[in-house]
Symmetry: none
Amino acid sequence: MRRVLLVEDNPDLAFGLRTSLEVEGYEVLHAETGGSGLALARDSAPDLIVLDLMLPGMSGYEVLRRLRQALHAAPVLIMTAKGEEADKVQGFRLGADDYVVKPVGVLEFLARVEALLRRANPTTAGHRYQFGDLEIDGDRRTVVVGGAEVDLSPLEFDLLHILAQRRNSFVTRAELLREVWGYRADIASRTVDTHIAKLRAKIDGGGKSRIVTVRKRGYRLR
Amino acid sequence: MRRVLLVEDNPDLAFGLRTSLEVEGYEVLHAETGGSGLALARDSAPDLIVLDLMLPGMSGYEVLRRLRQALHAAPVLIMTAKGEEADKVQGFRLGADDYVVKPVGVLEFLARVEALLRRANPTTAGHRYQFGDLEIDGDRRTVVVGGAEVDLSPLEFDLLHILAQRRNSFVTRAELLREVWGYRADIASRTVDTHIAKLRAKIDGGGKSRIVTVRKRGYRLR
DNA sequence: ACGGATTGTTACGAGGTTGTGAAGGCATCC
DNA sequence: GGATGCCTTCACAACCTCGTAACAATCCGT
């Protein structure tokens, strides 16, 4: 379940937003001041932060600045009554991902929340990936190579899926073990190699493999 | 340089946006119809798409739908005069990442563009170095020289990586030993030299070496 | 120009890493 | 109960990597 942190001092508005988000299936954390919002962000690692700018005590800008300084990567949606362009620009400059001016419709608000989560956290949503003529459908758990569907075992699919999600970097054997096998130290590390070999046999045509060995590190999909 | 695809049929507005984006250092592609926009997106793989909804011929919604169907992952910013909440929700539902209603200030527009690129393309901020036509990607552990990927051994890559990080000064052999080999005193110092030689053989073209010898001190990358 | 010091280059064997086929255990489905 | 498919482990082969030695080339103070 996705966790949304709501930093908003107006009780009525906060209640409305919280209810709307919860109806959509989000877990909602609520802070009424900037300081408590920062603390909650640090302790509970929310997937998204909705931030009011006019807060008692620490301003929303300051909260955002400290969040980014602490390397919090969660997307931030600023929701405020301050609608001047300069305010918006300042918000984005500090690292906000979206900025909406009150009052805003509930449906639009929810749509923006969803869009931010979709973009910022693509791994949890079912998704499709494409690498040349290799297509991976995370929802249907199907893989198509050059137009023909390939039959993969569950474990092989998970392996390929992780590699596809990390398209921009290699994945170490330890990470693959953690992501695919879960917390189980009782797996000999060569097991990963064996399954990579099986995967290669199934998805590679002639020529170079789609899975590149990064020596001493792990594997990478290209 | 980031590429932005602008799909907008109003020539005046398109000109203004194009100019603003180019001043910010973006490369701008422009399409006046949905069909040509789709074709451009397919052929040129832009990093961001700015989409008008009211286009001659194919509607913006339809363009967006087809983009997502074709597995285009680039973020889409919808910019339109249609400000009804239902329109916005529909846009987000089809996979848009932001939705702004005309007229919108240039500064806000640019801030939103930047926010989308920042969020959608986090890898470019990662560990990458560039020295002329030499590119080093620390996440993928790949090296590209003049457009062609070069195959380096793990140790060679680490060596080059350290040199790249200290781009403005030389690195002594002792530092290289410490950083690359770790705390191991059992390495003959000439070992560094031999690996530097191997690196040079792999990444240098005809003329002078990219790795400069600093006599009595160490090496430096330029 | 000379000679010692420093660096460049090549070759090679030991050791390490990865690829791969085979075998067996286990669960599931008939 | 047998057949099947999946997963893990093992063993061996193939390949790669790296440290070292040896020699060549270059630098630099005299």
